[in-house]
């Protein structure tokens, strides 16, 4: 399976989308306009790393080593999950411009 998002891209939650620990119900929730979504445990681990700093590559590396699972498998799961949220407008991916660090 091929990835749909550039793995060097940096994902972040769109304005109006927030991940938080819902202590009253003992779960994590993703809040969006008039929506409350209940991400499953795997999705929560991915979302916790979506901070506007880490690239998709970094997220995959960290998850693969933290859970000692096959990196290619993690890459496919992360891509599918993030691409779904990109389509819903809940996640934006910015691609670092080459030479950006020098400017």
């Amino acid at each position: 399976m091929t990835e749909t998002l550039a793995t060097t891209g940096i994902p972040r939650l769109a304005r109006g989308v927030r991940l938080r620990n819902d202590e009253a119900r003992g779960q994590w929730v993703l809040l969006a306009p008039e929506r409350v979504l209940n991400p499953d445990p795997v999705a929560v681990e991915i979302l916790k790393k979506v901070d506007g700093v880490r690239s998709i590559d970094t997220i995959v590396d960290e998850l693969a080593s933290a859970f000692t699972v096959d990196r290619a498998r993690v890459a496919t799961d992360v891509d599918a999950f993030l691409a779904g949220l990109v389509e819903k407008g809940m996640i934006e991916v910015t691609n670092p411009v080459i030479g950006d660090a020098a400017s």
Partner: protein, 380 residues
């Protein structure tokens, strides 16, 4: 037969209701617009009885603790409160997601910037029509439409997610395709097509608002087609019309089940129309904590769950889908808040309700009894 004796001294334990997800905070009833279907009560609260900032902050803190995840800052026009930004900042602090529900009239770009800086998560903007002519007529405010367009553009310029809310009725139902086009043009990601719900002001104006059956079914088709066509581009949420329906709406997804509403003067209601039901005892945040109201107030427990239901509902396989429909509608049409919602085809009053709608739709009445304060104000 299995009879278990119960001691008479201790009441049967009622299972604790689940925590509410959402809270509608009606910060004020003041509003520059006069929409004839306004969901505020006919008896509007005046400025001098509004809760102060400290009380609202306490209520938001209690809401967060109770499990409320999203607060809808509404009114009237919530920007009429000059301390709105303080409330938003407080909600952010206690982890609540904030949604501003505004009419967008009298909101300057500077004010929007300040609301954005305070940390608002989402803005919902009303349009009474898809064109200036209809918006200005329905809201009874000349120039309202142009101001709303400017606010919508500013909201998007600030990078805030935008929802367009359009309440539809006989004078604008034909504009549904135009409302959807407007939402796309304004770069909204979501639109609510909400058929007018007939309580309070809208019930007063039902003769001038009620669409025909043909219009309603046409509207449902238009929305369904647009949903499929715009999937991934625009979310279309619809509030269904129920006078012509077979099944009632699951009002509030069940009374006291998922959400609550605090009025400008601090009364806590299971829904915004609940005060149309006489003899319900609503508690006030001035005297009770929000959690106490949610768990123990007589009004919230009156129609919670399925125990209160008449046999017709209790024996129905849809009882936990429809939750008996709407209590305020049962009150308005059947004269009994504990009756089956007459929108349900099983109700003995279903045909009567349909006849009311058909008669109203045929009136051709075009004059509105606009929303306004009923008595002259001596205080402000």
């Amino acid at each position: 037969m299995n009879i278990v004796a119960q001691p008479l001294t201790t009441p049967l334990a009622r299972p604790a209701p689940p925590a509410p997800y959402g809270m509608l905070a009606e910060l004020t009833h003041r509003c520059p617009l006069q929409c004839p279907y306004c969901s505020n009560p006919v008896e509007l609260d005046r400025r001098n009885v509004e809760l102060d900032l400290d009380t609202w902050k306490r209520v938001f803190s209690e809401a967060a603790k109770l499990g409320v995840l999203q607060v809808h800052l509404s009114g009237g026009e919530p920007t009429a409160r000059r301390d709105l930004e303080d409330m938003i900042r407080h909600c952010v602090e206690v982890g609540i997601y904030t949604n501003l529900i505004t009419a967008g009239v009298g909101v300057t770009p500077e004010r929007l910037q300040s609301i954005s800086d305070a940390g608002i998560d989402h803005v919902q903007l009303s349009f009474q029509g898809a064109t200036a002519e209809i918006t200005d007529k329905v809201s009874n405010f000349r120039g309202a439409h142009e101001r709303k367009l400017a606010v919508a553009r500013e909201v998007r310029r600030l990078g805030l997610p935008l929802t367009i809310n359009s309440v539809v009725h006989r004078a604008n139902i034909h504009q549904i395709p135009a409302f959807i086009e407007l939402a796309l043009e304004l770069d909204a990601k979501r639109i609510e097509i909400a058929h007018s719900q007939y309580y309070g002001w809208a019930l007063r104006n039902r003769g001038a608002l009620m669409p025909t059956r043909e219009q309603v079914f046409w509207a449902l088709d238009v929305v369904e087609e647009a949903r499929a066509r715009l999937k991934g581009k625009l979310t279309i949420d619809a509030v269904v019309p129920d006078y012509y329906a077979k099944y009632p709406k699951p009002c509030m997804n069940g009374w006291g089940r998922q959400s609550l509403n605090v009025t400008p003067s601090g009364k806590v209601l299971p829904c915004h129309a609940a005060e149309t039901i006489p003899n319900l005892d609503f508690w006030n945040v001035r005297e009770h904590s929000l959690s106490d109201v949610w768990l123990n107030s007589p009004a919230f427990n009156a129609f919670r769950g399925t125990d209160w239901m008449p046999d017709l509902c209790k024996s129905c396989e849809r009882k936990e889908l429809d939750w008996g429909g709407c209590r305020c509608q049962a009150m308005a049409i059947a004269g009994d808040a504990a009756a089956t919602d007459p929108a349900c085809h099983k109700s003995p009053l279903h045909a009567h309700m349909l006849a009311l709608a058909e008669a109203d739709a045929a009136t051709g009445e075009a004059e509105y009894d606009y929303r306004r304060y009923m008595t002259p104000d001596r205080n402000n």
